[in-house]
Structures are given as structure tokens and as C-alpha cells.
């Protein structure tokens, strides 16, 4: 039994400690917003937050989470940065297939949390771990800048 705090709610999960958070979220808890893309930390589709910092949940055993708060795309809209990012994503119409966008939104929200006014170089550094096969990068950049200018 592992105790996890996910989007502000405590869950006791019956799973081995080495089980990656991604599969606990998706397959045991039914929180399918977090996506499986590669399983090796190369694509960023599985990005969630631990205490506001972005992590690849496909590589993170639940035993390593400890008491840090987990935020997923289902809960990130309750945070000021997450709400701004989600709104900017829709205002700019970033999304095509959308499969990678949970991870993109989580990475972008973490960026705004740490760097409220990111430069292009900051955006490159924070976002280059997230692959988008539809090629929405131009709009992701624009949406992050828009969110950084918007009021909560």
C-alpha cells in the first residue's frame, strides 16, 4: 500500500513500490489524461508535477514519490499558472490531435511557475523534452508567451 496525494486528494494505492506513477494513474486510478508515449523519458507525454516540478511519470516509481504532491492534467487547471496555460492553449488553438498536449501543458505550467516571463531560450529549455508529432511547436511558443502576459 502506497499513499499518494493526487490533485489534492489522498489515495492509498495497492501497487508495488517500483510501479511507475504513469501506470498507477492510468490503469489503477483511471486518470487517463496522463499519456504513455515512449516509456523511456524521451517524449514527455507522461509529464506530471511533483510539488510543482515537472517529472516524467513513466520513469518514476511510486515508491520514490514520498509525500510530494502529485498534480496531473486533470488537476492543473486549479492552479493559477495551469489555468492561464489551458486558456492560452485554447485562445491560440494550439492543439491538433492533442495526445502530447497533456505533457506539453504540464511542462509549460511548470515553466511559468518557475519563470513567469520566459524568454525564447527559456521556452526551448523547458519544452524541448516534449515531442509533438503534429508539429504544434510554433503555437505552443506563442501560447506560453500569451499566458505569461495574462492576468490570473
Amino acid at each position: 500500500m502506497v499513499a499518494l496525494t493526487i490533485n489534492g486528494q489522498e489515495s492509498n494505492v495497492e501497487a508495488p513500490e517500483q510501479m511507475p506513477l504513469l501506470w498507477v494513474l492510468r490503469d489503477l486510478l483511471g486518470l487517463t489524461g496522463t499519456k504513455f508515449g515512449c516509456g523511456i523519458g524521451q517524449c514527455g507525454a507522461c509529464t506530471v508535477h511533483l510539488d510543482g516540478n515537472p517529472v516524467r511519470s513513466c520513469l518514476l516509481p511510486i515508491g520514490a514519490v514520498g509525500d510530494r504532491a502529485i498534480t496531473t492534467v486533470e488537476g492543473v487547471g486549479a492552479t493559477p499558472s495551469g489555468a492561464k496555460i489551458q486558456k492560452a492553449w485554447l485562445d491560440i488553438e494550439v492543439i491538433q490531435c492533442g495526445y502530447c498536449q497533456s505533457g506539453q501543458i504540464m511542462s509549460a505550467t511548470a515553466l511559468l511557475n518557475s519563470t513567469p516571463q520566459p524568454t525564447d531560450a527559456d521556452i526551448n529549455a523547458a519544452m524541448s523534452g516534449n515531442i509533438c508529432r503534429c508539429g504544434t511547436y510554433v503555437r505552443i511558443r506563442e501560447a506560453i508567451k500569451r499566458a505569461s502576459r495574462s492576468q490570473p
Partner: protein
């Protein structure tokens, strides 16, 4: 029949083709609703609850307007565009509509171009433009007539606006929902009056997409997100060698793992069924499998290319001949020859392949995101031996398609697993399986020859050698030795050339399965033609834009796109090197998918041969635009898809096995490499063109020609060879 199919595939927007659709599909589409409506009325008693004027529209007395989507959404924005077309002619606003995926039903929802339910070839809007407008307009005509009857006025003095009929002389209004009960007995006219283009309220506006709000908060359900009570999770491994079989298996270690329920051993692959994808994957890794490699154990990329080159030396089947190309090439003037080669490519949709299935005694239910939902149903019926009507197939949104989900191999495998499993099972492929058991974009070899006289091309021969995907996937598209997709954008080369000969050599590579990949045939042909034309311009001592322009008199829409792209890209001005490398600008033009596009790419090539794409300017005339923001998005994304292929895309095979396995060795363009992209839409009243694949076909030749301009090196193969660009290796150009 075959000639018609070919014509429709090539020119779906043409008037004759649309007429053909109305005659063939129209009867079905608009004839079907009458029994359905009667049935609905009977079921509900005297007053019908639902108004179902045709296969695409369902309205009820509560005001719900449900639109049935005959084409599938994989990111290209088609759900919004289809809804805009239907809502435009029906005259409702988009916030009044709900969308629903069409069930498998070829009679009602076949793509008019293919004659089957399929989303591909960038033809959703081209194929459905008129059928959907007529569906919307027909429904509107019925509602107007119902209102007119109610008011005892002539329908001609009524108009509509946002879900209401208005009696023009008095201004009296009534909502559509209040007319649902009065539509009984009123038939949709066969040729309902359509709105004139200048009366469009929705079409042409950059409206917000209907599918994206649920994609920012995790609510959207892709195929991979299916969750059912008592569902199990499975993952699979096919023999790593193409065509190989499962030999001896030791499953004791796998079965001992927590969460692992069952090992499914089939002839050609194995699956592990477990409590979660994690346990299933762990189980798969714990299996000891002796594979029987079979006859393909020695196949490698080297042999593939050797065989392809040998095949390309023979005369091909003539796909098009104009004038006398052979004579023009031997006597016409300066002769020039070049060969271009493209590699195998994987699709790598971000959503790995998956399919959820429950097989019961006398039925089967399938949940999957598919570009061909009726084929999904058919393959499940075939595997289970059930009649098709006993297979319920649900189509879910797709995390990318790009042609991979035009295939049903993953559905077939999932059903075979599900036959061995109690209850529903979700089968998810690992990324490794997804890359190593794809249905690949074939290798292509294009041999081009031309002769120049007084700065003009007078003779042209283009021989395409490669797989016939049509022969397997859609046999009517492979006729008399010619695959119409493989020569698309070769037979209709946009330039004025008096003597042309286009040939096709069908050559199937050993072992490696091949299929459609975003951009399909034009991907290869636009690259070969536009690379070659750039080399011809240099041979002729002319500027690449001016040289193309001089050959585009018969294609004014393309010439206008060329002029716009040249002007917006500052063609002819120097490009400052921002990173100390060699800079250049390259142009390409194309008329593929009935869209006229010119693209200028700017690159910087460093001393190590690394290429940075710094800017792309694209001008597009795609006829009437349904949603301009979607056109821009598809161009931006399609370009990045194409740049990715040109810079990195290559699947190689050794000992019958694909050597790449995941995103570390099958690379994708990332944020820090993304160029500035500028898209310019040219206003047009022509029939709509296709957009989903055009950016992807545009990027590689523009990029390649920019490298040519920057370095003087005429690359003849993709992906780019950094050793050649760094001078560490000679360019394998043959002239």
C-alpha cells in the same frame, strides 16, 4: 467503373466527379432517411421526437442538433470543418451542435472518393463538400416548409438564421426545435437550394475547434484511454524478424510476476495479459522466447536498395506520355539525368497503437481509433467468424493517424488476443513494437531525365520505382501496372513541358510491409521533381524562382503562389548567418491534393554538416477555405512533419529486423529546432483543395533546395547526409 474511381481519386473536386457522387452516393444518403424517420415516428407515437433528414443530422425537440461525422478526427481539425459545412447550410450556430463519430456503415458514410469509409489522401473536405452542403440545405428546406405550412404562407417568403425560421414580411420567428413535430411527410428536395458563397456565415471564419476544450484537461478519450469494468491489460511482441514465428516459449518467470494473468501464444506473436500495462510489459520482458526467424532472416536495407536499383533500370509501365520524350531527350539539347532516393519511414503517432476488444459467445465489441472503421469491423468479423452486424465497432479520437490507422493489423491482433481472454482486454503496443512493426512508407527511387533548350525544358522522363500500396490496400487504384498514388504529382507535373514520359516500375521490397504515410505518393514525387528542377535551373544558369515561373504559364494559381512566396520570403536578398554557417534559401512548388503551394525554406549549414532550418514561408491557394485557422495549423504542423523526415527520418533493416526502436534513435524535431513559419493564404472561389498532407510534401524539397543554395551540394537522398555536407564524404550524385 475503374476509370471513374481513378478519376475521382485524382480529381475529387471536379464537377463531373461531384455529379457522380450525387448519382451514386446521393441516392443512398438521401433515400435512406425516409424509412428511418417513419420508424422513429412509430416508436415515439404520433409526434416524432427526432428529425433525421439524412445520415448526417439528428435534431430533437429539446433543441439538440447532433451531427454525425463521416470522417475521423486525428488532429487535422476535420470534425470542426465538417460541422461548419453542415451547420452553415442547416443554418445553426456551432455552439448548438454536438458531434458523434459515424458507426461502420459503408452505405451511409462511405467516402465518396474511395467508395469505402476511409479518412485519408487529404480529401475529406474535397469529397464531402457537396454531399454535406446538400445534407444541411435539404434539412433546412424541410424545416422552412414545415414553418410555412404552420403559418400558411409560401416557403419562398421565409428565411432562416441560427436555428430559426423567419417569415420575412412579418418578422415572425420559430425555432427549429418547435418544428420537429411538423416535419412528418415533408421530403428533403433532391437538389436543395445552396447558399451562395457570399452568404456564408461560418465557412471562411477562423472558428474555434470543437474537439480541443476537452484536450486541455484530460477529459478527452482516445482509444488508448478506454476503461471498462473488469478490463484486463495486454501488450504484445511479434517476431522481431518480419514474417517470423513463435518457437519455444518458457513463460514460467513471466507468470510468476505479480499482476500477470495469462500468456497468449499465437503463431506469429505473443501477448501478456495482466492487471496493468506495466505488469504486462514486465511479463513480456520476462518471457523467454525462441523465435523462428523464417525466410527473411538475412534481409537488410542494403539488399533492399540493390534490388530497387536493379528494378529501376528496366522500362516502366507508361503512366503518361505527351509528345515524344525519347526523341526530345536524345536530340533536344543539353541532357541532364539524376536519381533521387527516399528511405523507409515509420509513422510514430504519439498515441501508440492500441485496441480494446471483448469477444463474447455470439458477439464482439471493439473500441479503437481508426481511419477505416468499417474495415475495423470487418476484420473483427473475419477473425471471430461472426457476421458483421454482430461486431460493434466504436470509433474514438486518434492521437495521430498519418496513414498508420488506415491499416487494421493492430485490430486483427487485438481480436485474436481477446478470443483467448475472459472479458474485455485493452491491447497497447509498446513504442518499440510500434516502431518495429509498422507498415512503412516504402523506399522510392526516382530516375529523372530532362533536356534543356534555350533555357526551357523540352524533354522530360520520370521513372518512379517503388511499392504499389494501392495494389494491396485499394486494388481499383492499381490498373494495368500503374499505381495511381505512386505517380501522383509525377503525371501531373505542373510545368509546361512539350514532351513528357512518366513511367512506373512496381517493385516490392523483400519482407518489409509498406503502407500510406502522410503525403502518400506526392511525398516522393514532389521531392524528386522539385529537387530535379532546382538542378535544372542551375544547369540553365537561371534563378530557381525565375526558372520555375517561366514554366508555369498553364498553372496560374501555382504561379501566383510562387510569386507570393518569393515576395514574402525576401527572395534574392542575402540571409545573415546567425550561427556562423553557410546560409541559403530554397523554393519548391506543388499542385498536390488540389492545393497550389509554394514554399521557401531558409537554412544554415554548419561545418559539421548539421542543418538548422531558420525560416519557412509558405503561400497556399487551396480554393474555398472552410476554416482558415485550420489551414494555417495544418501547414505549420505538416511542414514540421516534413522537416523531421528530411533531417532524421530513416528506418533501416538488418537481419530482417528494424534497427530503430524508440524516439532516441527515430528522432523527431523538437521545440528548440522549430523554425519561424509564415503561412499566407490566397483568397479563392475555386472548389476546396486538400490540406492535411501538403505541408509534409512541401518541406523536404524546399529544405533540400535551400541546402543546395547554401552549399552547392545537390543532395539526392533523404534524410540529409551530414557527412556529405561536412565534406567528410563525397555526394553520391551520379552526374
Amino acid at each position: 467503373m475503374n476509370a471513374q474511381v481513378i478519376d475521382r481519386l485524382k480529381n475529387p473536386a471536379r464537377r463531373t466527379a461531384i455529379k457522380g457522387v450525387a448519382a451514386a452516393g446521393g441516392v443512398l444518403l438521401f433515400g435512406f432517411h425516409i424509412p428511418t424517420m417513419r420508424a422513429a415516428q412509430k416508436a415515439a407515437g404520433s409526434a416524432p421526437l427526432q428529425f433525421e433528414p439524412n445520415a448526417f443530422i439528428r435534431m430533437d425537440q429539446l433543441g439538440t442538433v447532433k451531427l454525425i461525422m463521416p470522417q475521423t478526427e486525428m488532429g487535422q481539425g476535420v470534425y470542426t470543418s465538417i460541422a461548419m459545412i453542415l451547420a452553415e447550410e442547416l443554418d445553426v450556430s456551432l455552439d448548438q451542435v454536438q458531434l458523434e463519430a459515424a458507426p461502420p456503415n459503408e452505405k451511409l458514410y462511405a467516402n465518396p472518393v474511395f467508395g469505402i469509409q476511409a479518412t485519408g489522401n487529404s480529401n475529406s473536405i474535397r469529397a464531402f463538400w457537396m454531399p454535406l452542403r446538400k445534407a444541411g440545405a435539404g434539412a433546412r428546406a424541410v424545416l422552412v416548409e414545415a414553418a410555412a405550412k404552420k403559418w400558411n404562407v409560401d416557403p419562398s417568403v421565409c428565411q432562416t438564421d441560427r436555428g430559426e425560421v423567419i417569415h420575412t414580411p412579418t418578422g415572425r420567428r420559430i425555432a427549429y426545435r418547435l418544428l420537429i413535430g411538423s416535419t412528418t411527410g415533408i421530403a428533403s428536395p433532391a437538389e436543395p437550394p445552396l447558399k451562395s458563397i457570399d452568404a456564408f456565415k461560418l465557412i471562411g471564419q477562423p472558428l474555434k475547434r470543437l474537439d480541443t476544450p476537452d484536450k486541455v484537461n484530460g477529459k478527452v478519450v482516445y482509444g488508448i484511454d478506454m476503461m471498462l469494468p473488469n478490463m484486463k491489460f495486454a501488450t504484445l511482441a511479434a517476431c522481431p524478424v518480419f514474417g517470423g514465428r513463435v518457437g519455444r516459449v518458457d513463460d514460467s518467470a513471466a507468470l510468476a510476476l505479480p499482476g500477470v494473468h495469462q500468456i497468449v501464444v499465437l503463431e506469429d506473436f505473443m501477448a501478456v495479459v495482466a492487471d496493468s500495462m506495466w505488469s504486462a510489459t514486465a511479463g513480456l520482458n520476462a518471457l523467454r522466447i525462441e523465435w523462428q526467424a523464417g525466410p527473411n532472416a538475412k534481409v537488410g536495407t542494403r539488399e533492399v536498395w540493390e534490388q530497387t536499383r536493379v528494378a529501376s533500370e528496366q522500362d516502366g509501365v507508361v503512366a503518361k506520355a505527351v509528345g515524344n520524350a525519347t526523341q526530345a531527350l536524345s536530340q533536344g539539347g543539353d541532357r541532364f539525368d539524376a536519381d533521387y532516393e527516399l528511405p523507409f519511414l515509420a509513422h510514430a503517432t504519439m498515441e501508440p497503437l492500441n485496441c480494446t476488444v471483448e469477444v463474447k459467445q455470439d458477439s464482439c465489441e471493439v473500441w479503437v481509433g481508426s481511419q477505416v472503421i468499417s474495415r475495423a469491423q470487418a476484420v473483427a468479423a473475419q477473425v471471430t467468424g461472426l457476421p458483421r452486424e454482430k461486431v460493434i465497432a466504436h470509433n474514438l479520437l486518434m492521437g495521430g493517424g498519418f496513414g498508420r490507422r488506415l491499416e487494421v493489423d493492430h485490430i486483427e491482433k487485438a481480436v485474436r488476443i481477446a478470443q483467448k481472454v475472459e472479458g474485455p482486454v485493452k491491447v497497447v503496443w509498446t513504442r518499440e513494437e510500434d516502431i518495429q512493426h509498422d507498415v512503412y512508407r516504402p523506399v522510392y527511387l526516382d530516375k529523372l531525365s530532362a533536356s534543356l533548350k534555350d533555357g526551357k525544358i523540352v524533354g522530360w522522363r520520370h521513372r518512379v520505382t517503388g511499392s504499389s500500396i494501392m495494389a494491396r490496400w485499394f486494388p481499383p487504384g492499381f490498373q494495368k501496372g500503374v499505381d495511381i498514388d505512386a505517380v501522383d504529382s509525377a503525371v501531373d507535373v505542373p510545368y509546361n513541358i512539350p514532351n513528357l514520359r512518366i513511367e512506373y516500375v512496381r517493385h516490392e521490397p523483400p519482407a518489409v510491409p509498406t503502407g500510406f504515410w502522410r503525403g502518400v505518393g506526392p511525398n516522393n514525387n514532389v521531392f524528386a521533381v522539385e529537387s530535379f528542377v532546382d538542378e535544372l535551373a542551375k544547369k540553365a544558369g537561371q534563378d530557381p524562382v525565375a526558372f520555375r515561373r517561366a514554366h508555369l504559364d498553364k498553372t496560374p494559381r501555382l504561379k501566383a503562389a510562387l510569386d507570393l512566396a518569393a515576395s514574402k520570403s525576401d527572395w534574392g536578398t542575402p540571409i545573415p548567418a546567425r550561427h556562423g554557417g553557410r546560409t541559403g534559401r530554397g523554393i519548391e512548388v506543388q499542385g498536390a491534393f488540389a492545393s497550389y503551394i509554394a514554399t521557401v525554406a531558409e537554412v544554415e549549414v554548419d561545418k559539421n554538416g548539421e542543418v538548422r532550418v531558420t525560416r519557412v514561408v509558405l503561400a497556399i491557394d487551396t480554393g474555398i477555405v472552410v476554416n482558415p485557422d485550420t489551414v494555417i495549423a495544418q501547414m505549420q504542423g505538416g511542414l514540421i512533419f516534413g522537416i523531421t523526415a528530411a533531417l532524421y527520418g530513416e528506418i533501416t533493416v538488418e537481419n530482417g529486423r528494424v534497427q530503430q526502436s524508440n524516439f532516441h534513435d527515430y528522432r523527431m524535431l523538437r521545440m528548440d529546432q522549430t523554425p519561424d513559419i509564415q503561412i499566407h493564404i490566397i483568397k479563392s472561389a475555386e472548389a476546396p483543395g486538400g490540406i492535411g498532407e501538403t505541408g509534409t510534401t512541401a518541406a523536404p524539397p524546399a529544405l533540400r533546395n535551400a541546402i543546395f543554395a547554401a552549399t552547392g551540394i545537390p543532395l539526392r537522398r533523404l534524410p540529409i547526409d551530414r557527412d556529405v555536407l561536412a565534406g567528410r564524404k563525397p555526394n553520391p550524385a551520379n552526374t
